[in-house]
Symmetry: D2
Subunit: 441 residues, 4 copies
Amino acid sequence: MLTAVWQPHLYAKSMRIAREQIHDQNRRNEAGHREALNFLTGRLKKDGHDTERLLKSIADFQLAIPSWALGTGGTRFARFTGGGEPRSLEEKIMDVGLLHALNRSSGSISLHIPWDIPGNATEVMALAGELDLEFDAVNSNTFQDQANQDYSYKFGSLSHTEKSVRQKAIQHNIDVINYGKALGSKALTVWLADGSCFPGQSNFAKAFQRTLSSLNEIYSELPDDWKMFVEYKPYEPNFYSTVIQDWGTSFLLAGKLGAKAFTLVDLGHHLPNTNIEQIVATLMMEGKLGGFHFNDSKYGDDDLTVGSIKPYQLFLIFNELVYGMNNPASTNPPPAWMIDASHNVKDPLEDLLQSVEAIKLAYAQALLVDHEELEAARDNNDAVLAQEILQQAFRTDLRPLIAEARLIAGGALDPVSAFRSLNVRKHLIGERGFKTVSTGL
Amino acid sequence: MLTAVWQPHLYAKSMRIAREQIHDQNRRNEAGHREALNFLTGRLKKDGHDTERLLKSIADFQLAIPSWALGTGGTRFARFTGGGEPRSLEEKIMDVGLLHALNRSSGSISLHIPWDIPGNATEVMALAGELDLEFDAVNSNTFQDQANQDYSYKFGSLSHTEKSVRQKAIQHNIDVINYGKALGSKALTVWLADGSCFPGQSNFAKAFQRTLSSLNEIYSELPDDWKMFVEYKPYEPNFYSTVIQDWGTSFLLAGKLGAKAFTLVDLGHHLPNTNIEQIVATLMMEGKLGGFHFNDSKYGDDDLTVGSIKPYQLFLIFNELVYGMNNPASTNPPPAWMIDASHNVKDPLEDLLQSVEAIKLAYAQALLVDHEELEAARDNNDAVLAQEILQQAFRTDLRPLIAEARLIAGGALDPVSAFRSLNVRKHLIGERGFKTVSTGL
Amino acid sequence: MLTAVWQPHLYAKSMRIAREQIHDQNRRNEAGHREALNFLTGRLKKDGHDTERLLKSIADFQLAIPSWALGTGGTRFARFTGGGEPRSLEEKIMDVGLLHALNRSSGSISLHIPWDIPGNATEVMALAGELDLEFDAVNSNTFQDQANQDYSYKFGSLSHTEKSVRQKAIQHNIDVINYGKALGSKALTVWLADGSCFPGQSNFAKAFQRTLSSLNEIYSELPDDWKMFVEYKPYEPNFYSTVIQDWGTSFLLAGKLGAKAFTLVDLGHHLPNTNIEQIVATLMMEGKLGGFHFNDSKYGDDDLTVGSIKPYQLFLIFNELVYGMNNPASTNPPPAWMIDASHNVKDPLEDLLQSVEAIKLAYAQALLVDHEELEAARDNNDAVLAQEILQQAFRTDLRPLIAEARLIAGGALDPVSAFRSLNVRKHLIGERGFKTVSTGL
Amino acid sequence: MLTAVWQPHLYAKSMRIAREQIHDQNRRNEAGHREALNFLTGRLKKDGHDTERLLKSIADFQLAIPSWALGTGGTRFARFTGGGEPRSLEEKIMDVGLLHALNRSSGSISLHIPWDIPGNATEVMALAGELDLEFDAVNSNTFQDQANQDYSYKFGSLSHTEKSVRQKAIQHNIDVINYGKALGSKALTVWLADGSCFPGQSNFAKAFQRTLSSLNEIYSELPDDWKMFVEYKPYEPNFYSTVIQDWGTSFLLAGKLGAKAFTLVDLGHHLPNTNIEQIVATLMMEGKLGGFHFNDSKYGDDDLTVGSIKPYQLFLIFNELVYGMNNPASTNPPPAWMIDASHNVKDPLEDLLQSVEAIKLAYAQALLVDHEELEAARDNNDAVLAQEILQQAFRTDLRPLIAEARLIAGGALDPVSAFRSLNVRKHLIGERGFKTVSTGL
């Protein structure tokens, strides 16, 4: 049974998972886990790995959960409600708290304004603090109109032909910074849907210049210890052109904006067959990789569970990230990690647990790669050996290590299974009802 | 000024465009048109073309307008209302009437159930008849749940694992047939969104077999003079697999269903770089091309204005269609032509006028191809000459011929410009208001 | 040192790897292997798996090696020789013998005519027999002209507009059957490069009909216990259309040809993002999946090492294959397994060893999937659980099982490393020289 | 009959087309041409166009012909000879002379070293001068090894891990500059095939840095009035990564190199669905668009005849080019125009004539666009009108204008038809024989 903690001054009727509940769950699988862990650490040590350091790195790796991924998403065709979805910012924070209690790796939440405007920042921070959560990058939204909006974003926002619309979008981003400041966020993520649906509709160069000018105004309001992340995407919701269509365009903007501006990579925002890991390497080489939105996809920006389609590509990307992060010559700051997914057919919380697990697995596999050996193979143009080295890391079953890092931090050995055993969703439906819709969905 | 005809027993406050209004418009451009036409027909005759026959073929070519394309569409991110959109089936019919008055080529409407359930079939038919419209294929909808629906289509409909859901979807399709019978439709179009979002989620073969079985039950209710069109699509709204993922799967189903079942090709439902014209040729060769959904796209199922991205591909497809239709050995029935587009940034009616124009242009260009000459070049493996023959047709400016066919039929020389001069949208907004939403959008 | 066995009456100066040499290699890693195997089999047994049966299935799985993959390939831009490549059919057989000695899973060779015309079938069969090899499907070649060829395949072969060229291509295929009969082959693989490079160049329907007619003539010469495999491919070497562009076209042809005709799937022969596993499932459902060409790719028909780019997709495909093969209701005959890769930067033999390993790993992972559990999750539309089941199999490190199956059969624990320790390539260069070119490359 | 001019001191046995021969051809079609031209210019003038200026712009537009496009290309599968192909640099120049005589728009040749090393620069320049040809950018080749090459490019050239190979490739590029200086070239085009075929094979950042360092050495040898064009390409001949994979990477390099370095866009070097026109606009905005390689493609770098697959995209690209070139604020130098195609099934010279025609047509269409009107529509977010403006230009049949520009300059009204009537290929085969292979193919 779940422990429902009532703290009426902060939030009403919200559920939490108590440590003892997780311990109860873990006790059932602990013997098997212990055996597998021993075998694995034995192997790793024999191969010269420092398993304690591995465990620490894995435990330290935290992922931000976006507030909009806690409810069921939808397509342009339909949205099928899932039940028990959070109805308020506080409930979204509670949901991330549940995830973090289970996997101890979801220690921050990324808010989306205006969907998540914090009414009382102090109380919201207190709630988050109680759940051991921080506030990651804040996200602005200029891709849809709010009710009774005076100027429409139908034809763009920061790149709009009309100054009044741009001004509105600029002010919105500044507002978002201010909301973030109150919560302790340190970054603004700008995803711009601006673009065009038809050849001729837009003047590419002018749209770029207007965007740059708008971003400059926002940048000038950015606190000194903040970063601005500029996302790129080739298409959708515009179907002919997007103002920031690729990493090159984002990088160009970030360079013109200044030292606090960075490119953000969303795995789903690429044309078919793009070599994303090379983009990652290039951006880190230039010190301009600001952050990451994790998801997986087969066709377009499908926003599927991380690692559900191309786990090897995920590993290859992490191989570049780890290499870049450990490169003493690198000037790239530590990237911000966030999941960005949409859940049409899965329980959003289960989906997020699977995503976090897949990310941590890929990260751990990448930690296993012996870069000295790899560089030697590369210097030798030994493609066979280079592949063996990568596959050796990828094929090793590192799940016991991830589980152990979680266990040490107080999380569940098997988060999805604990989520189910504890009937979390059923409790949430009981609290919130079945036909709920998350703000913004 | 527009003539607003009030016929309270059929529909209230609806606008029509009178013939004289169109004639007034045409008078302004007629001299220029006449001159261009004379030059063109002179050229064509010199090249051995029967311009009267061309004009007749062009005039006879009619396109069905889907009821859902009359309002502004949207993406999963946002929907920006356009103003004056039809609020009822009757208003949708009126909108198609406006299109048909302008271009004389939009002589039918394709209904989507349950968005367009006709309350009183007799009155609806009377209204359509008055506007010189017929009812094209009826479309079922099992990709979204209606309010208070007992069984959900969240995990599929005709392919669902549970019999009760399948039964509901089957019955819905039978209902759609019955609605169509009352209106004089002769075909049912089945677009099935069924599929899966994740590897493992679905058993491909079982999903196919359940779909076949469901379609068989619907097929058995199909009147003898009806056709069933089975659409295919590789992805969206499912992002890992779709039960009917490609023409091969649709063709397999159509073959198993029987002589009244056909494959329907939607231009946007293909993977990148697909040679669609070859698929068209293959289906016609096998006598199984049932119909066409026209649109254009750059990335996925973008549903853009026909001919706005790849007009040459459109021409190549028509080249196959004309060849197949004129092939005396062909057993393929005349395909059903329909536009299937979504309008996010354009006025839906203007967009449809542009689409119809692009289709008729491509059709006329295809009529210009000398297939005897082309076959001779092919027999000779003369790729240079074959290209010259096609480009000669494509590069010829046939707009005067299209305009003339329209003029003879009582339509506007330049429909988009007439639409604007007559302030049609302004009148519609006046009648219907700005913040309207079409049923189903 | 390698044992060079001289058997001048069969083949000259060819190298073999003796069992003792492999045993020497294995002894070094055996302790570690034994420990890992014990852990793994313990785990698997605890989960209810029959490890003996798994081992047997893995050991029984044999892959055909194509004769053209034994030398260095090239692109249209360049070819960089690798050294020690086989100069004759006999040397190619010897190379496959080396692979088979190392991994005991490459027990057959697939010949390509006219590159590998066996001079003396009896001697060739004796050589193969001695190396424990069989002859897999024979492959015809009508995509390039041989020196002084009377009719050119420049504009096609079985689909050519001229009867004389078609006749030549038909006769060639019949010759290939006859070569195969002499060697004990039981299948003919037809990969047809026929198509067109430009719109207009080819009449799609006529090209299909001519192809069908040509294939019919070949089919009529096919022995009763043979199969004909019809390959499909969307593009290359033709860049506008290919006569057999997709599985639907191949399936249509196979159906018209008869019960001995099947579709062959080459992993690299698909448009971007194709769901290949669904195609596999559909073909098996219809009893028409004849065979498989394994490779991997990121962009087009890249012919890379199997499993080097998308190992999870490979596993998903095997999941369908294993399901289809174990389905008692299936009428599909056991598919023929072959690698089809091209090696531009790797040692061809090392590349093939890596490919075989990746295939066996994916096969073993698929064997691990509990299909009863999976079907239950599917019936329940539990996408989360279905994914857990598949990932549980994929993430398990089954390499010790593959190694053990190899060990039992007399092969090397680690074939690539044995290949290197034994200096195989160095010996081959010593025998054959550096600047050799395989026939056909 | 063709006039074969013998100038034994320069080149032997080469054919030329005399002006009178072209006049004879033109006389046959002149009446029809005159009539069509009058109609067209009448229309254009009525719409406010300065037809004289249009004619001049069209006539001035010159395209460089690459020396390697004069023979039949091939794929990795086969090469089918075409007959009468040029066997030497001199014969290649003669071939371009034939093209230029026919269309008066192919006034320069782009050489490829080492395929076209000029033995005697003075004589080569004299020959070119006589044919009214100049020497465009020179192209280096470090993607294949020459016979007996000491260091191999198998694993790269300017990015190679070994200094000796890089040094060789650097020196080769410097040699190419020197050959170009002697001929009056003003630019070096670097297309780098360097990359990797397998994950892990290459260190992305190090490969970039080595490439940059190598390019810097070459750049330092570049004369002050020269430009360096840095090409990009996502894949082929490497199938996992390419060092300069996209415009962003090329732009980054060009920026680091200096003011004489520019990005070169090859239409076939993009991932599926890329919005190339936006890339062009961005590069021109930044003053970094150096040159263009024209071709067309459906799948990858298919190198098909320009305009044979996506003529509307070609027009959209020219729309950006014309806008950028006429933008007084632009700092971009006039881009270098070159065709880069490969001819597998067409006569290379006929193919090139078709390509030049398609390019000039797209250019002329772009000149027709009223940019003031277009900007007004854009400022108004009138996507419908913007499309009408572009389509109005694209749908206008401008062939008479192109023909007239050619006629005035002394070229043929219909170059392909003149090429055939004059039996050029037959004469070339007579001179050179059938089984010739161009150097480098």
